[in-house]
């Protein structure tokens, strides 16, 4: 992460614009309680938290810059959704879904959720999930929509 992903120009610019970046090292004794309080059992990992230190999303392992940018958008969106800023979250998730990589299915799943939470209207959620199940039918994120449960109830304008 330190040699490839974090030095990437786009990653650094996005982090600088949207986050306060905090580095917690197992080499710093004062940071050890943070690993426990954030349920971190693996390094490297990243977490996304608000100013009350409530973590809303986390992800383990290494990622290349393109995937990591998508992860940053999803993580920020999850924080925004926790603070009912669902329209902003939906914009972030559309950006993540527009990039064809391994995080696009997850972005589409959460996009559906953000649309629902914004207006408590299931039609736009189903539209996002329809995109997900058509583009990535074998994805675990498509399985989470349990299509058989809702496809019979889909609004006619989908």
């Amino acid at each position: 992460m330190d040699t490839v992903t974090y030095p990437d120009e786009q990653v650094a610019a996005y982090v600088g614009e949207h986050f306060v970046p905090f580095s917690a090292s197992m080499g710093v004794r004062a940071h050890w309680p943070l690993f426990r309080s954030h349920h971190m059992i693996w390094t490297p990992s990243v977490g996304f938290a608000d100013h009350r230190a409530q973590m809303h999303y986390s992800s383990p392992g290494y990622l290349p810059p393109t995937e990591f940018l998508s992860l940053l958008r999803i993580g920020r969106a999850r924080c925004l959704m926790a603070w009912t800023r669902n329209a902003e979250a939906a914009r972030e998730l559309e950006e993540a879904a527009a990039v064809e990589n391994s995080f696009a299915p997850e972005a589409l799943f959460w996009l559906g959720v953000a649309h629902f939470l914004e207006r408590r209207d299931s039609a736009p959620m189903y539209r996002a999930w329809e995109r997900l199940t058509k583009r990535y039918p074998e994805s675990p994120w498509a399985a989470r929509t349990y299509r058989e449960h809702w496809s019979g109830d889909m609004p006619r304008d989908l």
Binding site: V15, P21, F22, S23, M26, L34, H38, P44, V46, H51
Partner: protein, 32 residues
């Protein structure tokens, strides 16, 4: 650590997040 200016004080990171109305990106790692 590249061009990212990492905070190393958690309390200061939280205060900055509140001031700047941003969320925290937490990087958990071991020393190289």
């Amino acid at each position: 650590m590249g061009a990212i200016n990492w905070e190393e004080d958690h309390a200061e990171a939280l205060a900055r997040a509140q001031r700047e109305r941003k969320y925290l990106l937490l990087y958990f790692h071991k020393p190289n």
